[in-house]
């Protein structure tokens, strides 16, 4: 059943030109940043792998931002436009409903990823890191997108308002992203290091750094960064389960 929800979401994105706008904007961002990274004379003093690292951060950062904005209205719009009730009167389970929505958002991430491939290719020319770079962007980006989407869905069931969900989700994304952008000198004390280890955005950036700057490309060398992302996804799933239960208890929809 989830495939019908997923297809509906993808069609809605295409019919309303939302996805195409996202793709155009992200292409522009990737083009401008790649151009600046590759042509700026001061930046050209940087090692190529550091340029790739910056590009990787931009690709995943933009993808997380786009998915956060899109996910914030994915479920809430069904409540705001009063279409949720007609869906919940069919045999569709809430599990399929959520899975369909999640897959649609993952497909958006998939398209953004495909758009990013040429930029990754150009940035990694001659470095032999094209495939590890591409592979880790796929892995880290997917885990990040899934984790954020599950948490945003949890918020959506609590608020049922796209404005409130979007505001909360953006604050959440910023709260995790800003510390990840701090330089390592600001993360010297123990609390900062603990926060850095559990922050999923920090883990994404640190893993990219590990792969591109330190050439540690095997999964065994990156588990320390991947585990926090898996935990992040599990926390998102647990929050979503509780949020759905609360939603049912409040009289949203019973028996799902």
């Amino acid at each position: 059943m989830y495939k019908y929800i997923c297809l509906k979401e993808i069609k809605a994105e295409l019919y309303t030109w939302k996805s195409l706008t996202w793709l155009l904007l992200t292409s522009l961002i990737f083009s401008v940043t790649s151009y600046l990274l590759l042509t700026n004379k001061e930046l050209s003093l940087l090692d190529q792998t550091e340029l790739m690292w910056l590009l990787g951060k931009i690709i995943i950062g933009v993808a997380l931002l786009v998915v956060t904005i899109d996910a914030s209205s994915s479920i809430t719009s069904e409540f705001e436009k009063e279409t949720a009730e007609s869906l919940f009167l069919t045999p569709l389970s809430i599990k399929d409903f959520i899975l369909g929505k999640l897959l649609a958002l993952l497909s958006l991430w998939g398209v953004l990823y495909v758009v990013a491939i040429p930029y990754v290719y150009v940035a990694s020319l001659g470095s032999k890191l094209f495939f590890p770079f591409l592979g880790y962007i796929a892995l880290l980006g997917t885990l990040g997108v899934v984790g954020f989407t599950l948490i945003i869905f949890a918020i959506s069931f609590l608020y049922r308002s796209s404005k409130n969900t979007l505001t909360t989700s953006l604050i959440f994304l910023l709260a995790l992203s800003i510390p990840a952008l701090f330089s390592t000198t600001l993360k010297n004390n123990t609390p900062a290091q603990i926060l850095s280890h559990i922050n999923p955005v920090d883990s994404i950036f640190a893993s990219l750094d590990n792969v591109l700057v330190d050439y540690q490309t095997s999964l065994a060398q990156n588990w320390i960064y991947i585990i926090p992302l898996i935990v992040f996804c599990l926390v998102g799933l647990i929050l979503l389960i509780f949020s759905v239960r609360f939603f049912k208890k409040k009289g949203g929809v019973q028996n799902y």
Binding site: M1, L89, Q254
Partner: protein
């Protein structure tokens, strides 16, 4: 007569406000059941509980002899035109019905959708976006959606709201036809004349409680009034 809807002592409160208070009633299979009450009497809340959208605080509800907790089965035997009238405006009428037919896993989707579009008079507009539909057309499309799964019971919450006289007449004729085919119709409306014309049994609720239930002649006897407006006012004031 077989009771197809059986609600016993159902209650729903929102904070301190009691929306439905110890409400019990039965609807027999094949009835055209009119459900009346003033604004805020608890009609929509009752329908939402009967259709499994809202959990009741107390009491139990059986549809077709089974507890409504069996949602899979419930969803296959009921059709609902609810108070929430949202549509996916970017879809065409045909796409919209096909989407719901998919959710019900219908094998003969194309035929069902084509037939329903014809029944509600939307065949000519099947390929245009719902965003361009008039209110009446959306109402008819909503009714077609409620019929996608060929339900045994249809719950209708103000189905003719905002329709012109011709639109109302079309809906009435369609509902009469469905009822003649054996479909039980649970009809909530503020338009007393249509309830008097269509319904075989009428229930009146006020402040969440059932105040009367019976045929038109039984209600006339009970209140001593002849017309439904007078009956309604004497029961709810």
């Amino acid at each position: 007569m077989e009771s197809i809807i059986n609600a016993q002592h159902i209650t729903k409160t929102y904070g301190k406000i009691s929306a439905v208070d110890d409400l019990s009633f039965q609807v027999n299979a094949g009835d055209f059941f009119g459900f009346l009450g003033p604004n805020g009497a608890g009609k929509t809340t009752t329908i939402r509980m009967l259709t499994g959208i809202l959990a009741s605080d107390n009491g139990n509800i059986k549809i077709n002899g089974k507890d409504i907790s069996d949602r899979q089965e419930l969803s296959h035997i009921i059709g609902v035109l609810s108070e929430s009238r949202g549509f996916y405006d970017w879809m065409t009428g045909e796409e919209y019905l096909s989407f719901f037919a998919d959710l019900y896993s219908l094998t003969d989707k194309k035929k069902v959708v084509g037939d329903l579009l014809s029944v509600v008079g939307l065949t000519e507009r099947k390929n245009t976006c719902i965003a361009t539909y008039s209110r009446g057309m959306k109402q008819r499309l909503g009714l077609a959606r409620a019929l996608v799964n060929n339900p045994r019971i249809i719950f209708l919450d103000e189905p003719t709201l905002g329709l012109d006289p011709q639109g109302q007449e079309d809906i009435h004729n369609l509902l009469k036809k469905l009822n003649q085919q054996g479909v039980t119709i649970f009809f909530s409306s503020h338009v007393l004349s249509e309830v008097a014309d269509l319904c075989s049994i009428i229930a009146v609720i006020n402040k969440g409680r059932l105040v009367a239930q019976g045929t038109m002649s039984e209600l006339q006897k009970k209140t001593g009034s002849t017309d439904l407006k007078q009956i309604f006012l004497s029961l709810t004031q």
